[in-house]
């Protein structure tokens, strides 16, 4: 059987690992290096990867591409402002992103594929056999577009991805097998560009993810940037900021950060006369810690969300595992210890633990062991657009996969011959605040009155986290289905901020959504009542008819002026409901009654 390797494709460094006689080991290159810097240089006649690329950065400042993982699944308009400090040139629009390198315009995955190809080569020469399959890790908080960019990179490097595995889950696997302990663990994973926190229940070989949270735009890179800004400020206004000086400062900052984890005080000697950069000073660790305080705070906020979603109390967490090079920073360790109220476990090298876990999963998937099972979750909720721009969630975040769910919807307009199902990912209540994944259309419906069609929408997420959507109108048996592979870039408002915002806006959203729902309900009642108006005359007393007419008119006026007062709307709808309910009892079949009472099951 062919070997499956485990790959940690990192923002800053990448590793490849394999299980030898059941024991995971990191494979090294010819020079004995475990870590391959995720840096690619497009030199005149060759593409340099890793250490070679890093060594040559001053020679090819604009052709040296790093931190490309941060660009996965993003479009140029998503990034414009946040990557102005990157020395390489980028272009694109709101649905694409190209990086100018080697005289070409490349997509992020094309650059990453060079790193994967190099890892593949390292593994092949180390193992002495061809390597065609891999388990590749991604941040748990990666959305569909980012995961797909990872798949594209692998395909281009001639690697078959047998599983996309979440990084903190991989780390938990390595940790659990190393310590052989059951318990509930928190994995705090601060990488080069992304932050994840996952809470897992480890019991008898089953690694069950209870919750996960994070930030796809927060990592060691941001600490480096904070130091670069500090350097620029200290260097004064004369310093020339171009690709060359920026990349030099970036790598200097990285070294500075590493030295600050060992020492309380570090000398900063930077001399780059051509750029008017002459710095001879010191930086105190406490100064650095003050600078990165806001970053640390953001990670702790994600920890709170994850803990809340896990349904556990702080005291139930039995251990905390640190993952990612950035967790070597003492201030991070201190903050984690303070929040979780226990000393974090650091027994496994935080740079290697993800790759080691990936190779364990690779062994499981190749049939090499059957006593370990990962039960992972979807990191973000999935739903569809419903009337008035609201999002009805079909699968909630942190639901264990595989998972399948079906919900029934109906139309709000008479004689629709097609229904579009707009699939969204995110936590917010309104379409505009969620990430659009795909639209699918059920066509050729026979004309039916509003409320009569029965549209069954089924979502299935498989063990790889791939979503498929099926929609079927059950009265006419017309259907449509699709596997979701989104191709548009990610807006910066999306994943990394979705949950944070959704908590901030939970109140707003709740009110707005209630209002949208109330308006829809009012409209449904009006439409339904209009339809039976003639019949109603014979069934109701004059007094009741008059009362109903007044209520209808008042509601129509409220709708017309776009009433924003939730309570007023609620009162109107309640009154209409009370007045029409007896009527409905008398004349409506169960199918039309649904129009009158609305889809109240989903509101709860």
């Amino acid at each position: 059987m062919s070997v499956i390797v485990g790959i940690d494709l990192g923002t800053t460094n990448s590793l490849v690992s394999v299980c030898k006689d059941g024991v995971p080991v990191v494979l090294t290159d010819a020079d004995g290096n475990c870590m391959l810097p995720s840096v690619v240089t497009f030199a005149e006649d060759a593409v340099l990867v890793g250490h070679e690329a890093r060594r040559q950065f001053l020679k090819y400042p604009e052709q040296t591409i790093y931190s490309v993982k941060r660009l996965f699944g993003k479009s140029y308009s998503d990034l414009k402002d946040s990557v102005s400090h990157l020395p390489f040139q980028m272009t694109g629009d709101n649905s694409s992103l190209k990086i100018k390198a080697g005289g070409r315009e490349l997509q992020a995955f094309e650059i990453s594929s060079h790193v994967l190809a190099k890892l593949k080569a390292i593994a092949e020469s180390s193992l002495g056999q061809p390597v065609e399959k891999a388990v590749i890790t991604v941040p748990a908080w990666f959305d569909d577009a980012q995961r797909n960019e990872t798949r594209h990179a692998a395909r281009l490097a001639n690697l078959e991805v047998v599983r996309i595995l979440n990084e903190p889950t991989a780390a938990a696997l390595a940790y659990g097998l190393d310590t052989k302990k059951n318990g509930k663990i928190a994995v705090y994973d601060l990488g080069g560009g992304t932050f994840d926190v996952s809470i897992l229940d480890l019991c008898d070989g089953v690694f069950q993810v209870l919750s996960t949270s994070g930030d796809t735009f927060l990592g060691g890179d941001d600490m480096d940037q904070v130091l670069v800004d500090w350097i620029i400020q200290k260097a004064g206004p004369d310093v020339i900021l171009d690709a060359e000086s920026r990349i030099a400062m970036k790598f200097a900052a990285e070294q500075l950060k590493i030295r600050l984890t060992e020492k309380e005080e570090v000398e900063v000697k930077l001399h780059f006369p051509a750029k008017n950069l002459n710095l001879d000073t010191v930086i105190m660790r406490s100064e650095f810690e003050d600078l990165i305080k806001p970053l640390i705070k953001r990670t702790i906020k994600s920890c709170q969300t994850a803990l809340k979603d896990s349904g556990l109390e702080l005291s139930e967490i039995t251990s905390v595992v640190l993952v990612g090079g950035a967790t070597r920073v003492p201030a991070i360790r201190k903050a984690v210890k303070e929040y979780f109220e226990k000393t974090p476990f650091t027994g496994i090298n935080p740079d290697e633990v993800v790759a080691l876990g990936a190779s364990v999963q690779a062994l499981v998937l190749s049939g090499g062991r059957r006593d370990v099972l990962l039960l992972d979750v979807i990191p973000l909720s999935l739903g569809i657009e419903t009337l008035g721009g609201a999002v009805t969630k079909i699968l909630l975040r942190n639901t264990t996969i595989p998972v399948s769910a079906t919900e029934e919807f109906t139309t709000s307009v008479d004689n629709q011959t097609a229904i579009t199902v707009h699939v969204l990912q995110g936590e917010r209540e309104l379409v505009e605040d969620c990430r659009s994944l795909i639209r699918l259309k059920v066509k050729n419906l026979p004309p039916m009155p509003a409320g009569l069609p029965r549209l069954q929408v089924s979502f299935t997420v498989d063990e790889n986290g791939v979503l498929s959507v099926k929609a079927m109108e059950t009265r006419s048996s017309q259907s449509a289905s699709v596997e979701v592979f989104p191709s548009i870039g990610l807006s910066l408002d999306a994943v990394d901020k979705i949950v944070e915002e959704s908590i901030d806006h939970a109140m707003d959203d709740f009110d707005v959504r209630m209002l949208v729902e109330l308006r829809n309900k009012a409209e449904r009642i009006i439409v339904a009542t209009d339809r039976v108006w003639v019949k109603a005359q014979s069934l109701m007393s004059n007094k009741d008819i008059h009362e109903l007419e007044t209520a209808l008119n008042e509601t129509k006026m409220a709708l017309k002026r776009g009433e924003k007062d939730k309570e007023k709307m609620q009162n109107l709808v309640d009154r209409l409901g009370d007045l029409t309910r007896p009527l409905a009892d008398k004349i409506f079949t169960s199918a039309t009654e649904d129009v009158l009472v609305g889809k109240s099951v989903a509101e709860i």
Binding site: V206, R370, V403, A506, V597
Partner: protein, 179 residues
């Protein structure tokens, strides 16, 4: 441990049961034995998860079985969901909390509580107190719903569930306010 030994007999015999209790080989009872459910879920997962499922089964069946085991587990972990399932087993289609509107006095009480949340001091203590209050109300409703199952009264159980759901909204609103 011998006492914990259990085989899901439906696995060999064919279609996965509709009842989550049957999937887990447990009597239809509330409250459920949480520890037993956790242990059986792990055991079931080791057998039905696509990574380990019977290689002779087609992909669709594997996904169906494993996602239904996951759904059953999720249901049994949630007290209200478990009770809802039992209630619809006991009462059939008569049980329809979605179409039930609680009494006006209750709705007034809810409106007042909503306002209370909006006007609350933003202190952790106030938040925790209110949260505890909601939790107690919900727990007492769960007890009443459970008792209602044996009284065979679909309407009053529907009403209790509707009330529980109002408290759930209240809880979400509270969390939104204090996030």
């Amino acid at each position: 441990m011998c006492s914990n030994y259990w085989e899901p007999d439906w696995l060999a015999k064919g279609p996965i049961p509709k009842s989550p209790f049957q999937i887990f080989g447990l009597p239809s009872e509330y409250p459920v034995n949480r520890e037993l459910i956790e242990a059986r879920y792990r055991r079931l997962s080791m057998m039905v998860h696509p990574d380990f499922a019977d290689k002779n089964l087609d992909r669709e069946t594997v996904l169906k079985i494993s996602s239904e085991v996951n759904s059953a587990y999720r249901l049994l972990r949630s007290p209200i969901q478990t009770l809802l399932f039992l209630a619809s087993e006991v009462f059939g289609p008569q049980f329809n909390p979605a179409a039930t509107k609680p009494k006006p006095e209750f709705l007034m009480q809810m409106m007042e509580k909503m306002e209370e949340i909006e006007e609350m001091d933003p202190t952790t203590e106030a938040y925790l107190n209110f949260k505890k209050q909601i939790q107690e109300e919900q727990n007492s409703l769960l007890d009443k719903i459970q008792a209602g199952l044996h009284l065979v009264d679909a309407e009053s159980v529907s009403n209790l569930v509707a009330e529980f759901n109002y408290f759930e909204r209240l809880r979400l609103n509270l969390e939104g306010r204090f996030a």
